[in-house]
């Protein structure tokens, strides 16, 4: 990443200024052209360094208090296809493939699910189970019970 991109990331990772011309305000604070801010942000959006630009809601404030990590053991040759299907479910907010650590940890597919209650979340997890069907060899659900630390991923 070049130095200009890095300065733009630092200037915007905590949020955009809530003013009529936010990109102009960022450009002024960095001493660069307005058009440069827009073109660098466009480039980062295009190559995936920026996932999206908009509102980042707080799960808890929206009433999503039952947050679970569902984990699944599916065959390696099907995990990518199944992961794409699970990721496409509206209530799954993150979906990853991770390595197994046998014998302690047999799961290779992770899907985060948020619900208004454990009943709601459990129902959603059953929808994942149905989508995965016979591919599921083992599964588990880990509800979060406490945030011990949350500083976010930032460059400093």
């Amino acid at each position: 990443m070049n130095a200009l991109d890095e300065r733009i990331v630092r200037a915007t990772q905590a949020g955009l200024p809530l003013v009529a011309e936010p990109y102009k305000a960022i450009a002024a604070s960095l001493g660069i052209e307005h058009s440069e801010v827009l073109s660098r942000l466009e480039a980062m959006l295009a190559d995936g360094r920026i996932r999206r630009i908009g509102a980042v809601p707080n799960h808890y404030a929206l009433g999503y208090t039952a947050n679970a990590m569902s984990v699944w053991d599916v065959a390696d040759h099907t995990v990518d296809e199944l992961g794409a299907q699970v990721g496409a479910l509206a209530f799954v907010t993150h979906c990853y493939r991770r390595p197994r650590r046998l014998p302690d940890w047999p799961y290779n597919l992770f899907a985060m699910v948020h619900g208004a209650s454990r009943t709601d979340t459990a129902l959603k997890i059953e929808i994942i189970r149905t989508a995965l069907g016979l591919a599921v060899r083992a599964s588990d659900v880990l509800y979060s019970t406490r945030i011990l630390k949350k500083t976010g991923l930032r460059i400093d």
Partner: protein, 147 residues
């Protein structure tokens, strides 16, 4: 939650324009005006309904290395271990979960080479093994949280 707040959560989690007057453009889409949208976003950030408004960066694609770690800690020793783990600046977040593996945290470092020594240090300090579960693939997420 009023109608505009709901529209912001449901329709403005992405796609905020890269234009000269983006709030005016987004407001038009949401059926309101620039000043109202800006005031509403400020209020939602203040109330904690939104944690942030702006670009959501993919930390991994910006450079650096990350991994998800899990530990199985006896309840009686949990607070001591949490304090030791959280004291590392490289630990970005840490959650308690209802499971035999009851502590789950993310390590963020400048490179993959820095992660193994950090995990070894945490194991030595706490006396418990750490599962290292780096993400190998991320799957496309279609929709986001709705209000």
């Amino acid at each position: 939650m009023d109608e505009l707040e709901r529209a912001i959560v449901n329709r403005l989690q992405g796609g905020f324009p890269l234009s000269e007057r983006p709030f005016a453009d987004a407001a038009r889409e949401l059926g309101t005006d620039e000043a109202t949208l800006i005031a509403k976003l400020k209020a939602m950030l203040e109330a904690g309904t939104l944690t942030r408004f702006g670009p959501l960066y993919d930390a991994e694609r910006l450079g650096g290395a990350f991994t998800l770690c899990a530990m199985s800690v006896p309840p009686a020793d949990f607070e001591r271990v949490a304090a030791l783990v959280n004291a590392h600046p490289a630990v970005a977040h840490n959650y308690e979960r209802a499971h035999r593996y009851n502590m789950w945290f993310v390590i963020a470092a400048a490179s993959r080479a820095q992660i193994a020594p950090l995990i070894a240090a945490i194991e030595a300090q706490t006396g418990y093994p750490v599962l290292d579960l780096p993400r190998e693939q991320e799957y496309f997420i279609e929709l986001r949280l709705v209000a």
